[in-house]
Symmetry: C2
Subunit: 216 residues, 2 copies
């Protein structure tokens, strides 16, 4: 039976919840939708589907718990970045690269967030806001305060910066169906991922206008 | 029986398809999800639900046809903008205001596009790419070619500019569940819409860095 690849979380693999998370993440990574059944997860994990219900109540419960696990790790990294002794520009640059890389490595995260929202369940939407948006907006407030305080950034609304930067980073993954039309490819490559990070960095720091004194 | 508000398409109101489109758009505008039933549409339009099946095959068919109608109008406006005798910067500015205003006025459009994609139906995704992405990318290619040719824009990849600009414009509408956390409000107001247009324009044209010589 195929098992989910470990991603450096050896300790967690030993318990059933961790095995179910890994199996679900592996299945979601292999397909372009969030359509995955309890029996597929059971088969991939080698565990009984009754165990999924025992731990998570339902498939929805498992997907939300998986998203929480991803959020916990990403948001801990983000908090550590904000606390570092580097410039606000440096922090925003690393953060932008981090969002794009996370979505590149785990495109199912984006789809899962979308699914939780489009489902229209108020509790799920609020949960997503709590685990992703609250820590993100706290980080944007801190980075903007530092950058504006230093005179490096012009005055900015952290909430609006959050929407525009996250939107600029994620749309290419969300709208993957459009890649053949926009970039002439069916799948993002590592090279295009790097180019896209550079594109968003250039846009966010300098905008589209030609500059007489290039300082990119 | 409540009827959908006419939005300047008097001629079309006379036929049943137009009445069904208006009723569906009105229902979708009133709620925060795309959950709308055939019987609700029938009741609101005053027409028989068998007529919906006759014209569109199913509710999905009706929603896709509604999206096509919206796309036709928006994309005709965009093509007209591209053909105007104004600078590339002006075109991009008007386009950005246009995307944000469209989503502000008709937030269901964004949800409907998301729904068609998250549903995972390949035919729907391809249709969305055809009716929205193809004309959009053609416009971005033309505007970037003009701007770079004039020396107004730095060299840019039109496909990457498309993802980053559209993402920056739409995420605030898509992620509406997060407004209380980010901006301290439950709903976007006209004032915030205007501020957001200005925020995205400033970001896309100048980036976040403080400039010694302000030319905003």
């Amino acid at each position: 039976m195929a098992r989910a690849k470990s991603s450096g979380n050896g300790g967690e693999r030993r318990d059933s919840r961790g095995i179910l998370f890994d199996a679900t993440a592996a299945l979601l990574s292999e397909r372009s939708t969030i359509e995955v059944s309890l029996s597929e997860i059971a088969q991939r994990s080698g565990l009984n589907s009754a165990l999924i219900k025992y731990y998570f109540g339902s498939k929805e419960g498992l997907l939300l718990a998986l998203l929480e696990r991803v959020a916990e790790r990403s948001m801990a990294d983000l908090a550590a970045l904000v606390g570092m002794d580097i410039s606000a520009e440096q922090k925003l640059r690393i953060h932008i690269g981090g969002i794009i890389n996370t979505y590149y490595r785990s495109p199912y995260v984006n789809r899962l967030i979308n699914y939780m929202i489009v489902q229209g369940d108020k509790a799920s939407s609020e949960k997503v806001a709590k685990i992703f948006v609250e820590p993100m907006i706290a980080a944007y407030r801190a980075i903007v305060a530092q950058g504006v305080g230093d005179g490096a950034f012009r005055p900015l609304d952290p909430g609006m910066l959050y929407y525009s930067v996250v939107g600029a980073c994620e749309h290419i993954f969300y709208a993957g169906y459009s890649l053949p039309t926009t970039l002439g490819m069916t799948e993002l490559t590592e090279q295009v991922r790097q180019q896209y990070v550079q594109h968003v960095l250039d846009l966010v720091f300098h905008g589209v206008l030609a500059r007489p004194t290039a300082t990119a």
